[in-house]
C-alpha cells in the first residue's frame, strides 16, 4: 500500500510540476499573446486564417460562438462518418477491412467528435491506417480543442463585463491545436517511440510461431500481429483525454503501452492538460486563490479515491484465495493483489491509479480490464464519472463543469452569508441558476433513465457478460461512461449492438452538448453583467471553507443521485463476493 501512496503522489507531483509552466504557457496562448513558439507557429497560424478567410479581430457573442462550434462539430461528424462508411473506397486500407456498419459508424463518429472515444469496435480488425489517422486522430485533436473552446468563453464571461463578446471560436480552436496540442503530442509520440511503441503504415506483420499448434485440422504456424501509426495516435489519445485506443485492449496492449515507464507517463499525460488548465485559469480569470481552491478540491477527491481503488485492488480476492493462489503483495507477483485482467507489466496498483486517472479525467483509456477489477475499485471508476467529470475532468469541459459546481456552491454559500450570490464578481441570478441546473442535472437524468431502459429491455440485458450485481454494474457503466464523455469501457458487455449504439450515441450527444451549451449561454449572460467589487461581505472563493462548500456541493448534488444505483451495483457486488455463499457472480470475464 505504501507503494500505491508513493506512486499516486509521485505522479501527481510530476503532473503539477509540468502543469505549472505549461498552464502559464497555455494561458498566454488563449489570451492571444506572443509565446516562445510564436516565431515558428505564428506565420502558419496567419496562413491558416487567410486560407479560411477568418477575421480574427471579429469576436462572437455566445450564440455565434455556439453555432460555430456546433457547425464545426457537425461537419467533423459527417467527415468521420463518411470515412468510416467509405473505407473500402479510400486508400490505405491494406487489409481490406471493409466498410464500418452504419450503427457502429454513427456511434464511433459521435464518440470521437464528442471527445468520448467510446469504442464498440476493435481497432485493429475494423480500421485501416487512413481511418485511424485521418478519421480518429484528427478528431482526437479537434474534440480536445473543442473542449477548450467550451471553457474559454465561460472564463471570458466571468472576467469581462458589460459586453456580449466572448472571443472568436476559430481563433480559440486554431491556437489550441497549433500551439498546445500539436507540439505536445509530437514530443510525446517521440518519447513513446523511444519506449517501443510502433508508428508505421504497415498494418500487419506475420510472425512465425515458435511452437506451431493445431486448431482442429489446421496447423497454425503464423501469428498475425497488428501494427499501425500507433505512437502518433497514442500521444493525443492521452493528452487530449480522448482515450480511444488504436487496439481493442487499449493501453493494456504492449504496443500502446510497452513499459512501466510508459504506463506512468500515460497516467501523467491524462492528468496533464486538465491540471494545466487549472493553472491557466488562475491567470485567465485573474483568480489565483480560487484556482488553488479548485486544485485542492480536485485533489481532495482524487487522492482518497485513487488510494481506495489501489487498496481494493491489493485486497486478495476471496474466490481466488480459495483456490490457493498467492495474491500477496510481492515484487515476484508484480505487486500482488487482484491480477485478473492486469498484465504483470502493469500490476494491480498501477492499474488502479491508471483507472482512477482515466475516469477522473474524461480519457477513458484502460491498461487493464476494468471489468475484472474488484467491485469497489470498479465502483470508484463509476463514481468519478458520475460526479460529472469534475475531478480534473475533460480538457476544458472538466474545469467548465467544476466552475458550474462552484457557481452552484456559491449560490447556496452566498445565500448563507446574506447576499445575492456572486462568483468572481458576477451576480448569480435566475438565468445562471437555470443554466447551471441544466448543465449539472441533465447528465444524471440521462444516465439513470438510460440504465433503466437498458436493464428493463431484453435486448439490453442480452448483452451482459456476467450475471448478478456485476451485470448491473456493466450496464450502468456502459451508460455512465458515454453519458459523461468518458469512453472507458467496463467490458463484459457486448455493446456493438444497434440498441447500445443508439443508447450510448444519444448519451454521448446529451453529455456533450446539453451539458455544455447551457454553460455557454450562461457565459453570455455573465459577460453582460457588471463586475462587482469584492468586499468583506463577499463570499470568498479562495478559502478552505469554500473548498468544503464546493466539495459538499459536488458530493451532495453530483453523487446523491447515483447512490441507489451504486448500492445495487458495485456495493452489492462486493458484498456478495465477500459473503460465504458463492453466487454466479464469481466468474468474471477477463476480456477487456
Amino acid at each position: 500500500m505504501n507503494n500505491a501512496v508513493f506512486l499516486t503522489l509521485a505522479v501527481l507531483a510530476a503532473t503539477f510540476l509540468l502543469a505549472l509552466p505549461l498552464g502559464r504557457y497555455a494561458a498566454r496562448v488563449f489570451a492571444g499573446e506572443r509565446v516562445w513558439t510564436s516565431p515558428l507557429l505564428a506565420p502558419l497560424e496567419r496562413a491558416l486564417y487567410r486560407l479560411a478567410g477568418i477575421n480574427t479581430a471579429a469576436e462572437m457573442n455566445w450564440k455565434e460562438y455556439a453555432v460555430a462550434l456546433l457547425l464545426f462539430n457537425f461537419v467533423g461528424f459527417l467527415a468521420l462518418y463518411a470515412i468510416l462508411r467509405f473505407q473500402p473506397l479510400l486508400p490505405l486500407d491494406p487489409l481490406g477491412l471493409g466498410a464500418v456498419a452504419p450503427g457502429s459508424a454513427f456511434n464511433t463518429a459521435v464518440s470521437f467528435v464528442t471527445n468520448t472515444n467510446w469504442q464498440d469496435y476493435a481497432g485493429e480488425t475494423t480500421l485501416g491506417p487512413l481511418a485511424q489517422m485521418l478519421g480518429l486522430t484528427v478528431q482526437n485533436f479537434l474534440s480536445a480543442a473543442t473542449g477548450v473552446t467550451l471553457l474559454l468563453p465561460l472564463i471570458r464571461g466571468l472576467v469581462r463585463h458589460e459586453t456580449d463578446r466572448l472571443g472568436n471560436y476559430w481563433v480559440d480552436l486554431t491556437r489550441t491545436v497549433l500551439y498546445l496540442l500539436l507540439p505536445l503530442s509530437l514530443l510525446v509520440a517521440l518519447l513513446l517511440v523511444v519506449q517501443g511503441v510502433p508508428d508505421t503504415l504497415t498494418a500487419l506483420v506475420r510472425a512465425h510461431l515458435v511452437f506451431p499448434f493445431h486448431e482442429g485440422a489446421r496447423l497454425i504456424r503464423h501469428q498475425a500481429i497488428a501494427l499501425g501509426p500507433v505512437a502518433s495516435q497514442e500521444s493525443i489519445k492521452l493528452l487530449g483525454n480522448n482515450g480511444g485506443g488504436f487496439f481493442n485492449v487499449n493501453s493494456a496492449h504492449p504496443f500502446e503501452n510497452p513499459t512501466a515507464l510508459t504506463n506512468g507517463l500515460e497516467t501523467l499525460l491524462m492528468l496533464l492538460l486538465p491540471a494545466s488548465l487549472l493553472v491557466a485559469f488562475a491567470r485567465l480569470a485573474r483568480a489565483p486563490g480560487t484556482a488553488v481552491a479548485l486544485v485542492v478540491t480536485t485533489l481532495l477527491f482524487f487522492v482518497p479515491l485513487a488510494l481506495l481503488s489501489a487498496h481494493e485492488e491489493l485486497t486478495p480476492n476471496p474466490r481466488i484465495a480459495a483456490l490457493h493462489v498467492a495474491q500477496r503483495p510481492s515484487p515476484r507477483l508484480a505487486g500482488g493483489g487482484n491480477l485478473v485482467g492486469a498484465d504483470d507489466r502493469v500490476g494491480a496498483v498501477a492499474c488502479a491509479l491508471f483507472a482512477t486517472a482515466a475516469t477522473a479525467t474524461s480519457t477513458g483509456a484502460a491498461d487493464c480490464s476494468y471489468d475484472s477489477m474488484m467491485p469497489i475499485a470498479g465502483g470508484v471508476n463509476l463514481f468519478l464519472m458520475q460526479l460529472g467529470e469534475v475531478i480534473f475532468g475533460g480538457i476544458g469541459t472538466g474545469l467548465a463543469s467544476l466552475l458550474a459546481f462552484a457557481i452552484f456552491a456559491v449560490f447556496l454559500g452566498g445565500l448563507m452569508v446574506g447576499r445575492t450570490p456572486e462568483f468572481l464578481g458576477k451576480k448569480i441570478e435566475t438565468f445562471e441558476m437555470k443554466m447551471v441546473s441544466l448543465s449539472i442535472l441533465v447528465m444524471p437524468l440521462v444516465v439513470l433513465a438510460g440504465t433503466a431502459i437498458a436493464v428493463l429491455s431484453p435486448t439490453g440485458r442480452a448483452a451482459i457478460g456476467n450475471p448478478g450485481a456485476h451485470g448491473f454494474s456493466e450496464i450502468l457503466y456502459a451508460v455512465t461512461s458515454p453519458g459523461n464523455n468518458n469512453g472507458s469501457a467496463f467490458g463484459g458487455l457486448d455493446a456493438a449492438t444497434r440498441f447500445y449504439n443508439v443508447l450510448t450515441g444519444v448519451a454521448m450527444l446529451v453529455g456533450r452538448y446539453w451539458v455544455y451549451l447551457p454553460l455557454l449561454a450562461m457565459a453570455g449572460a455573465l459577460a453582460r453583467k457588471k463586475s462587482i467589487p469584492v468586499g468583506a461581505g463577499t463570499l470568498p472563493t479562495h478559502t478552505l471553507t469554500f473548498v468544503f462548500l464546493l466539495s459538499g456541493g459536488i458530493l451532495l448534488i453530483g453523487a446523491l443521485n447515483f447512490i441507489p444505483a451504486l448500492v445495487l451495483g458495485p456495493v452489492a457486488d462486493q458484498i456478495v463476493l465477500f459473503a460465504h455463499h458463492a453466487t454466479p457472480s464469481l466468474v468474471r470475464g477477463i476480456q477487456p
Binding site: 464578481g425 441546473s437 433513465a449 451485470g471 467589487p533
Partner: protein, 686 residues
C-alpha cells in the same frame, strides 16, 4: 386554571383559523404553486388510491403500511401549508392593526379641483386616480393623494405614530397626504393618486397574502434549483424501480421488487420538502420583520436588494448627528471668567426653547451649578428675529444678548462698546472646525463665544464599524462645507462623505457607485430627493416625505427615522441566510434518509446490505416509516426558525459561512441520523 384560560383561548383563536387555512390550501390549485410540495401532494393521493385498492383486494397488512406512509405524506403537506398559513396570519395581524386605522370612509368628490366646486358624496373605494376630493376638519382622508389647494393640519399618527400634527399644503414638499390620516383644521383639495385598494397600507397587506405575492428574483432562482432537484429525484426513484426489478429477477433471484409505497416514501424523503415547504413562510416572515420595524416595502425584491447593499448614503442630520447643533464649549475673551460667560449665556438662553438654547442652558448648568433655573417675573424677553439675528433677556438694567458674531458686533458697536480683537481668532477657529460660534454680550461688553457643535449620535460609530465588517461602506451626505463635513465624518467613523451635497450631486454620486458595480441604498424625503431615491437600489423614504419621493422610493419608513436603513440591511441579509441555511439543511438530510431506506428496501434482495443499516433500525417497515415521519416533522420543527430567521451576526462573510456551514450543513448531515433513530425507537415501543 382561571388565568390560563384566556391565554389558551387567545392561542386557540390564532391556531384554529390557521389550521383551517392549512386544510383549505390542500386544494390542487394552491398546491400546484409550490412544485416540490405538489409532488408530495400527488404522492399522497396516489398512496390513498393504493391503500383503497389493497383494502379491497384484501391485502390488509400491506394496506396498513401504505396507509401509515400516506398519512404522513398528507401531514407533510399540511405542515407545509401550516407554515405558510402561520406566516400569513402573522402578517395579516400586523396589517390589521394598521388597517384598523382606516374605517370605511366617505369621500367628497369635487367636479373640479376647486374648493367651491360642486361636490358629491361617494364611498372611498369608488375613487379613481385623478379624482379631486375635498377634505375638511374632522375628515379621514380616503385615499393617498396630493394636495392641490388649501392648507391644513393633519394628524398622521395612525401611520407614523407621531402625535404632533403636520401641515399639508398645496405645492412644495408637503403636499402628499396619506389615506387613513385625519384632517384637524381647515381644508384641502386633494388629487387622488392611487387606486383604491392600492394605497399605502393596502399594498402592505397584499404583500403578505400569498395570492398576490410576487416571487422575488432570488426566490425564483432558488425555486428553479428545487424544481430541478425534485425532477432529478423523480428520475432517481423511477429508475430505482427498474434497477430493483433487475436485481430481483436477473441478478439475485431473491427478494421482492421495491413497492410503490416505499418508492414514494423515498421520493418524498429525497426531494427538498423542508425548504420547499418553508420557502413561502420565509419570504412572508421577511416582510413581517420589516413591518415590525414600521417599514413598508413596495416589493419583496427591495428587501433582498437591501441584503446586497454595499454603500449606504446617509444624511448627516438626523442619521449620524442629532438633528440640532448643541453647545459644546464656552470660550471667554478679554479676561472674562469662564463662570461669568457660562452664567450670562445660560441666563440669555433660559427663555430660548430651541434645542440649541436648551443645550446652552444645560452646558451652563454643568459649568455653574448654582445658575438660576427660571427667570424673574420682570425679565424682558427678546425673541430671535430674522432681522436682528440675536436673542436674549433684559434683567433690570442688564441687557444680555447672544447671536451670530456680526449681529452682536453691530449691537455692541451701537451700544458704544468695542469689539475685542482676540474674539475674531476664536470665532474663526470655531467656524473652520465646522462648528457654529454664538457670541455672548452683556450690555456693550463682549464676554465670549459659545461653540455649537453637531453631536454625533451615541453608538453610531460602533454601528458603522459593524457595517464595515460586513463589507458595507458608509457615506455621509451633508450640505455643510467640506471642512465641517470632514470633521464630523472623522468623528462618526464613516468611510466617506459628500459635502455641499445638492440633489444633483447625490444622484451623480449614486450613479458613480453603481457604475463601479456597487449596490447603493439611501434615505430621503424631499421631492428633490426623488430622482436619487429612484436611482438607488434601495431607496428608503420617510413617511413625512412628499408623494413624489414616496413613489420613487421602494421602501417607506413610517417612523421617519433614517437610521432604520441599517436594520433594513440586516433584515435583507437575514432573509437570504435563512433560505440558504434551510436549503443546505434540507439537501444534507438526504444522506441519512438513504441510509434508512436503501437497506430497508433491498436487504431482502442482498442480505449483506444490512451493513448499511448503520442506525440499527428495527425493521424495514419501521425504517421507511421513521424516515417519512422525520421528513414530515422537521417542517413544523423549523417553522419558528423560518419565521424568526436565522440569527444574523455582523461579521465577515467567511466567518458567517463557516458558522452556517457547521450548523446547517454538518447539522443537516448528522441530525437526521439521530432523529430517525429516535422515531424508530418510539415506533418499536408499541
Amino acid at each position: 386554571m382561571s388565568h390560563t384560560a384566556p391565554a389558551e383561548r387567545g392561542w386557540l383563536r390564532f391556531v384554529r383559523p390557521t389550521l383551517l387555512d392549512s386544510l383549505l390550501k390542500l386544494n390542487p390549485r394552491s398546491q400546484i404553486r409550490n412544485p416540490v410540495m405538489f409532488v408530495v401532494y400527488v404522492g399522497a393521493w396516489f398512496l390513498l388510491a393504493l391503500t383503497i385498492r389493497d383494502l379491497v383486494t384484501g391485502r390488509t397488512p400491506l394496506a396498513g403500511f401504505t396507509a401509515a406512509i400516506d398519512l404522513w405524506l398528507w401531514l407533510t403537506c399540511l405542515f407545509a401549508n401550516f407554515a405558510e398559513a402561520v406566516a400569513e396570519r402573522q402578517g395579516q395581524a400586523q396589517a390589521d392593526s394598521l388597517r384598523a386605522s382606516r374605517q370605511e370612509v366617505r369621500a367628497k368628490r369635487l367636479a373640479a379641483p376647486r374648493h367651491d366646486a360642486k361636490r358629491e358624496e361617494i364611498a372611498g373605494y369608488e375613487l379613481r386616480p385623478g379624482d379631486h376630493i375635498l377634505v375638511e376638519a374632522g375628515d379621514v382622508i380616503p385615499a393617498d393623494g396630493e394636495a392641490v389647494g388649501g392648507v391644513a393640519a393633519v394628524d398622521e399618527s395612525a401611520i407614523t405614530g407621531e402625535s404632533a400634527p403636520v401641515i399639508r399644503e398645496a405645492g412644495g414638499d408637503r403636499s402628499a397626504v396619506t389615506a387613513g390620516t385625519t384632517v384637524l383644521s381647515d381644508w384641502l383639495v386633494v388629487r387622488v393618486t392611487s387606486e383604491p385598494g392600492a394605497t399605502f397600507i393596502d399594498r402592505m397587506i397584499q404583500m403578505v397574502e400569498s395570492a398576490s405575492r410576487r416571487k422575488t428574483p432570488n426566490e425564483i432562482a432558488l425555486g428553479i434549483l428545487l424544481v430541478v432537484l425534485t425532477l432529478v429525484f423523480l428520475v432517481v426513484t423511477a429508475s430505482l424501480y427498474a434497477f430493483s426489478w433487475y436485481a430481483v429477477h436477473v441478478a439475485a433471484h431473491s427478494g421482492q421488487v421495491i413497492g410503490l409505497t416505499v418508492l414514494f416514501a423515498l421520493l418524498v424523503c429525497l426531494i427538498p420538502t423542508t425548504i420547499g415547504g418553508l420557502l413561502p413562510a420565509i419570504g412572508i416572515a421577511g416582510i413581517i420583520r420589516l413591518m415590525r420595524h414600521n417599514v413598508v416595502a413596495t416589493s419583496g425584491r427591495a428587501i433582498e436588494a437591501a441584503g446586497d447593499v454595499d454603500v449606504l448614503l446617509l444624511d448627516k442630520t438626523g442619521t449620524i448627528t442629532y438633528g440640532n447643533r448643541q453647545a459644546a464649549a464656552f470660550h471667554p475673551v478679554s479676561r472674562t471668567s469662564l463662570e461669568t460667560l457660562a452664567e450670562t449665556a445660560g441666563l440669555a438662553s433660559l427663555a430660548d426653547d430651541t434645542p440649541e438654547g436648551k443645550s446652552i442652558v444645560a452646558l451652563a448648568h454643568k459649568t455653574v451649578p448654582s445658575l438660576a433655573t427660571a427667570l424673574p417675573q420682570d425679565a424682558g424677553l427678546i425673541p430671535f428675529t430674522a432681522e436682528t439675528r440675536m436673542s436674549g433677556v433684559d434683567l433690570g438694567e442688564k441687557h444680555l444678548r447672544k447671536g451670530a458674531p456680526d449681529a452682536i458686533r453691530a449691537h455692541v458697536v451701537r451700544a458704544g462698546g468695542t469689539w475685542p480683537e482676540d474674539i475674531d481668532t476664536v470665532v474663526h477657529k470655531i467656524a473652520t472646525a465646522g462648528c457654529t460660534p454664538i457670541v455672548v454680550a452683556c450690555d456693550a461688553r463682549v464676554l465670549g463665544v459659545v461653540e455649537l457643535r453637531d453631536i454625533v449620535k451615541s453608538g453610531i460609530r460602533e454601528r458603522f464599524a459593524r457595517l464595515r465588517a460586513m463589507g458595507i461602506k458608509t457615506v455621509m451626505v451633508t450640505g455643510d462645507n467640506p471642512l465641517t463635513a470632514a470633521t464630523i465624518a472623522a468623528e462618526a467613523g464613516v468611510d466617506d462623505y459628500l459635502a455641499e451635497a445638492k440633489p444633483e450631486t447625490k444622484l451623480a454620486r449614486i450613479r458613480a457607485y453603481q457604475k463601479e458595480g456597487y449596490m447603493v441604498a439611501m434615505t430621503g424625503d424631499g421631492t428633490n430627493d426623488a430622482p436619487a431615491l429612484a436611482q438607488a437600489d434601495v431607496g428608503l423614504c420617510m413617511a413625512s416625505g412628499t408623494q413624489a419621493a414616496r413613489e420613487a422610493a421602494n421602501m417607506v419608513d413610517l417612523d421617519s427615522n433614517p437610521t432604520k436603513l441599517l436594520e433594513i440591511v440586516e433584515i435583507g441579509k437575514q432573509l437570504l441566510i435563512t433560505r440558504g441555511a434551510l436549503t443546505t439543511f434540507s439537501v444534507a438530510n438526504d444522506v441519512a434518509k438513504y441510509f434508512a431506506i436503501l437497506p430497508a428496501a433491498f436487504v431482502a434482495v442482498y442480505p449483506g446490505l444490512r451493513v448499511l443499516n448503520v442506525m440499527g433500525l428495527s425493521s424495514p417497515v419501521h425504517a421507511v416509516l421513521a424516515a417519512v415521519i422525520f421528513n414530515a416533522l422537521v417542517i413544523p420543527l423549523l417553522i419558528p426558525l423560518a419565521l424568526r430567521g436565522v440569527r444574523f451576526r455582523a461579521t465577515s462573510a467567511t466567518r458567517l459561512l463557516r458558522r452556517n456551514l457547521w450548523i446547517y450543513g454538518l447539522g443537516g448531515l448528522v441530525f437526521p441520523f439521530a432523529g430517525i433513530k429516535l422515531i424508530d425507537l418510539l415506533l418499536t415501543l408499541h
